[in-house]
């Protein structure tokens, strides 16, 4: 069974050298968030993730959360670990200090989140959904609602859920049917919600549900959906827990992965109606959900990084130990890591994991800049970067995680197909991440439609220019490796630019021609952004080597970037070709011919 060792050094390298930790630490109110604090926080979070949460991963998968006599039973150890998690104060890392959080920037919070997700994805979803609920109340709740719920959600003493999906309303939330009937100062809610992550459990004494529903006079479609807060236990006037609300867990889903996380079907209003309180203004619920979408999608993108890291660590450890066959150039049988193809697989995993991590953390730093940069023009510029890159981090990192976790199984050979090894779990757990919080198709449509075509590629073309500047800088460093890196990156950037201009043009002819290439385009942008970050990483490592650092760590950064440039970056050409030439065949086949 594999251990998880948080890659603290890699994380700090990305934070400091690529994502600009010092710049984030220079923003108002974040003066404490320097390298020293980052290291202390990451070290301790890594220890907690490795020792307390990681051992839950296999147990959670085998036992799963179960519904027994109407009660949700979570896997052994989950409740105890959750209470330790609350005790240690990790839930409030980026929440406002006014409600008991630590108010740290996203650039510090996201690596810590990555650790929980690597350690046990199913467990990590509980604090993640709580975060979503608390942000909804933080941005849109009344002061009374904030006082009633926020401190408990920040500490994690209560957990939160997000109730969007209904059987007929998945990706299309305009089809939401749940109703909210006014009654005095509150509403009575009726309806069924499905796929509610951590929707019911007894780990904490209360659960705060955020629920999308329609008011009686609401217009049809997306502009008629309101947001409500519905506590599992109603609160008395003094804030203590009162009566059980009319919301019941009807069943738990049987899933392909993340078994430890209870995915509930919730029935609201089986008797008198669940008492709920309107959050914000009527009919603006979906809009409120979208304000939190960047955070949630970035968090799911991080799941791609996190589960890839875990799969890589397990495959690497196995490849070092498993003795099988005499590798070329060796006298006797040895560990399979000696075989060139095993090295290729491990490097395909490692290089893409590092590239994804870098892009995710850089995006987190952009979020911090967008929130607190003193210059409004700069805030706006960073915000447009965040909006452009969010669907890329979500879509590309989660899709890449499918390849990485699958290679993790492959490295194990036949043992990988056997559940006891644990390699297969990562692959099964990873399968949901390209789906929830907006499928890859939804991400790609968002990237192409709202983030690219709508502004004629303005933000993206500016990003391409920055990539070119960075690439030229690294290419000018002394050494053949840097010339090679820059040359490969230049080709990929050119492909990206060509594909972008093609799509802007194609959309004016027939939008369907553009959107047929949306996912290949998303993968193209992700692949090239990954190369950009790997090139920057190689440049930063070289600067450290030039300054006298001797650690093999830095040399490995350059070697890994070269592997990415030679093995992964060429995919940009394929993606670009598909974007530019693949639309008509996608659309040609008559529906009846499928």
């Amino acid at each position: 069974m594999s251990q998880y060792v948080a890659p603290v050094r890699d994380m700090l390298f990305v934070m400091q050298e690529l994502a600009g930790l010092a710049d984030v630490g220079a923003l108002p109110g974040w003066e404490e968030a320097g390298a020293e604090l980052a290291e202390a926080v990451l070290e301790e979070a890594g220890r907690f993730a490795g020792e307390v949460i990681a051992p839950l991963n296999v147990v959670g998968d085998r036992e799963g959360s179960r519904l027994v006599d109407g009660k949700v039973v979570v896997p052994a150890g989950f409740a105890e670990a959750y209470h330790q998690f609350v005790e240690a104060g990790w839930g409030g890392i980026s929440s406002p200090e006014a409600f008991g959080g630590q108010g740290l920037p996203q650039l510090l919070a996201k690596p810590v989140t990555e650790m929980w997700k690597s350690a046990c994805l199913a467990f990590s979803l509980c604090p993640m959904l709580t975060q979503g609920a608390l942000e909804a109340l933080l941005h849109h709740g009344t002061p009374e609602q904030q006082n009633a719920y926020l401190a408990k959600l920040v500490s994690g003493e209560w957990t939160g859920t997000m109730n969007l999906t209904e059987p007929q309303a998945g990706s299309d939330l305009s089809a939401v049917r749940s109703r909210a009937m006014p009654e005095g100062d509150h509403y009575r809610l009726f309806g069924n919600k499905i796929f509610i992550t951590w929707g019911e459990h007894d780990v904490t004494e209360n659960i705060v549900h955020l629920v999308l529903a329609r008011l009686p006079d609401a217009p049809a479609g997306v502009k008629g959906i309101s947001l409500f807060v519905v506590p599992k236990y109603l609160l008395n006037a003094d804030g203590s827990l009162g009566e059980r609300n009319d919301v019941q867990c009807v069943s738990l889903e049987h899933k392909m992965g993340i078994h430890g996380s209870p995915t509930a079907v919730l029935a609201y209003g089986e008797s008198a109606g669940a008492i709920g309180y309107l959050v914000g203004e009527p009919n603006r619920g979906l809009e409120y959900m979208f304000t939190m979408m960047n955070h949630a999608r970035l968090a799911v993108g991080l799941e791609g990084v996190a589960i890839s890291e875990r799969a890589y660590q397990q495959a690497r450890d196995y490849a070092r130990e498993r003795v099988q066959g005499r590798a070329l150039g060796h006298e006797s049988a040895g560990a399979i890591i000696r075989h060139p193809d095993v090295r290729r697989m491990l490097l395909t995993m490692k290089s893409q994991t590092e590239a994804m991590r870098a892009l995710a953390y850089v995006t987190a730093a952009y979020m911090d800049q967008a929130a607190r940069h003193p210059d409004p023009a700069e805030r706006a510029r960073y915000q447009s970067r965040v909006e452009l890159l969010t669907p890329v981090v979500k879509g590309w990192c989660t899709e890449t995680a499918q390849e990485v976790t699958s290679l993790g199984v492959q490295v194990h050979g036949g043992m990988g197909f056997i559940e006891e090894t644990g390699a297969a779990q990562h692959m099964r757990d990873a399968r949901i991440i390209t789906i929830y919080e907006g499928t890859t198709g939804i991400q790609a449509n968002d990237l192409l439609g709202r983030k690219t075509l709508r502004e004629q590629g303005k933000t993206l073309l500016a990003l391409i220019e920055e990539m070119r500047t960075d690439t030229a800088r690294v290419g000018a460093l002394d050494g053949e490796a840097f010339r090679q890196l820059a040359a490969a990156q230049d080709v990929a950037i050119k492909e990206l630019e060509g594909a972008t201009r093609h799509l802007i043009e194609a959309a004016t002819v027939d939008p369907r021609l553009a959107f047929a290439g949306a996912v290949p385009y998303l993968m193209l942008l992700g692949t090239v952004c990954g190369g950009w970050q790997m090139t920057r990483a190689a440049g930063a490592a070289q600067a450290r080597i030039a300054a006298g650092e001797t650690a093999a760590f830095y040399r490995a950064k350059i070697d890994t970037a070269l592997f990415y440039a030679e093995h992964i970056l060429p995919r940009a050409m394929t993606h670009a070709y598909v974007v530019q030439h693949g639309a008509r065949s996608t659309l040609a086949l008559d529906e009846s011919a499928f």
Binding site: A40, E44, Q102
Partner: protein, 249 residues
């Protein structure tokens, strides 16, 4: 009651230690460093005594380069009240450490010093004992249980073949064994608070202590690599090998 807890920065216990290519020293250039695990137990014990109302202020002390500030911050984050770094680039022998700690005791006037029983790098298991000797204080080493009164302490020691329970008068030096406690996970709010706790840095020279080495290292060698195992045909062959080759039975 004030407690002084010395903490040492060592190569992390999970790192596989290697010698430098020229064999001159252990290669610690790029290794992950952490607080000596026995010292972590010492800090934890001091905090528990404080939480139980048996102790007042906890002062963590380290001797070494500026890098040692990270283990002092870790001690502060666990719950120590303030920290002192005696700054030196030299690697000190246990006697020099004990002499410096004697000076710290003279300044701080604690009633109790809790040390790790040994550091996982040098494995000398001497500094605590030497400190007690220099101070003329009682010592209770290898503690697996510590009950603190106002004038004395009862300490359970792990010895070969069992447990020994001794009483010492205060002030005293106690050194910790592995089973004394399990150090807590540091909380995020405490990591944040630790940044604001006082950490004084004093140059070694200011103590006027002779810390020159008295030992000469003649050589260092890595343990021999473990050789491959052999498969035995039956129990009789196993017994024969244990008896005649390994000579363990």
């Amino acid at each position: 009651m004030k407690i002084v807890v010395p903490v040492k920065r060592v190569i992390d216990a999970n790192v596989k230690v290697r010698l430098k290519a020229d064999g001159s020293a252990v290669d610690s250039d790029n290794a992950k460093m952490s607080m000596n695990p026995f010292d972590e137990i010492a800090v934890e014990e001091a905090i528990r005594l404080k939480e139980a109302g048996a102790a007042g202020e906890i002062v963590a002390v380290s001797i070494g380069s500026d890098a040692c500030q990270d283990v002092l911050r870790a001690a502060l984050a666990m719950g120590a009240d303030r920290a002192l770094l005696i700054r030196t680039e030299a690697v000190l022998e246990p006697l020099a450490v004990a002499k410096l700690l004697r000076e710290v005791v003279a300044r701080e006037q604690p009633r109790l010093v809790i040390c790790g029983k040994q550091s996982t790098d040098g494995d000398a298991n001497q500094a605590g004992q030497m400190l007690a000797g220099l101070l003329g204080w009682p010592q209770a080493t290898f503690a697996s249980k510590l009950d603190l009164g106002t004038d004395g302490a009862t300490v359970t020691r792990e010895i070969d073949g069992g447990l020994e329970i001794i009483a010492v008068t205060l002030p005293a030096v106690v050194t910790t064994d592995l089973r004394l406690n399990s150090p807590r996970y540091t909380t995020l709010p405490n990591i944040m608070k630790a940044k604001k706790k006082p950490l004084d840095v004093v140059a070694l020279d200011e103590f006027g202590v002779d810390t020159r080495p008295r030992l000469t290292t003649l050589g260092l060698a890595e343990p021999a690599a473990r050789s491959a195992g052999v498969r035995v045909a039956d129990v009789a062959e196993l017994l024969a090998k244990l008896k005649n080759e390994a000579k363990v039975i």
